[in-house]
Symmetry: C2
Subunit: 100 residues, 2 copies
C-alpha cells in the first residue's frame, strides 16, 4: 500500500512542485489551471484521466469551461503520497506550454 509522505519528504517534494499549493485543513495538494478553451481543458483532463486509470489513482477535480481545479491526495494513505507527486509532475509537464 502506498504510504503518505513523512513531513520531511513532503516538504522537499513540494519544493519541486511550485505550481501546487497545500489545501487548508487537508493533507492534499491543489492546482488551478486556465486553458484557452473548453476543448483544451477537457482534452487535458482526458490525458490526465488515462494516467489516473493506469496508476489506479484518481484526482478530485472540477471544471468550468476553460478552468480546471485539481486536488491530489491518496485516500488509502490518508495524505499526499508519491503517487500524487508523480501525477502532479505529469500534469505540470503536460501543461507547461498551454496554461496561464
Amino acid at each position: 500500500m502506498t504510504k503518505k509522505l513523512d513531513p520531511q519528504s513532503r516538504e522537499k517534494l513540494l519544493e519541486e512542485l511550485p505550481l501546487w499549493e497545500a489545501v487548508p485543513g487537508r493533507d492534499a495538494i491543489k492546482r488551478d489551471l486556465k486553458l484557452k478553451s473548453f476543448n483544451e481543458a477537457f482534452g487535458l483532463m482526458s490525458r490526465i484521466a488515462m494516467l489516473a486509470e493506469k496508476l489506479d489513482h484518481h484526482p478530485e477535480w472540477s471544471n468550468v469551461y476553460n478552468r480546471i481545479s485539481i486536488t491530489l491526495t491518496t485516500h488509502d494513505a490518508g495524505g499526499v503520497s508519491e503517487l500524487d507527486v508523480k501525477m502532479a509532475k505529469f500534469i505540470d509537464k503536460l501543461t507547461s506550454e498551454k496554461t496561464s
Copy 2:
C-alpha cells in the same frame, strides 16, 4: 441570445427533470451521479463534453472517482434556460441504466 426561463416555464420543465434539484441561492440545477467506476464516470463525462461543445454550452462539474456532480445554468442568460433543459435531458437519457 438564449433567454432564461420565465418562472412558469421553469417550474413546468423542472417537473420533467425529477433527478435534478434547484441549487440554493442560484438560478441553476444540479444532479449528483454515482457510476460503477472511474472508467464509466469519465466515459460519461466525455459524452457530455462532446454535446457541450456542439451546443457551445458547458456544465460546471466535478468528479471524484465514480461520482460526478453536474450544475447547469446559462451564464449569458443569468439562469436556467432551454439549453440547460436540453443538456439535462440528454444526461438523463445517457444515464438511465448506468447510475444509482
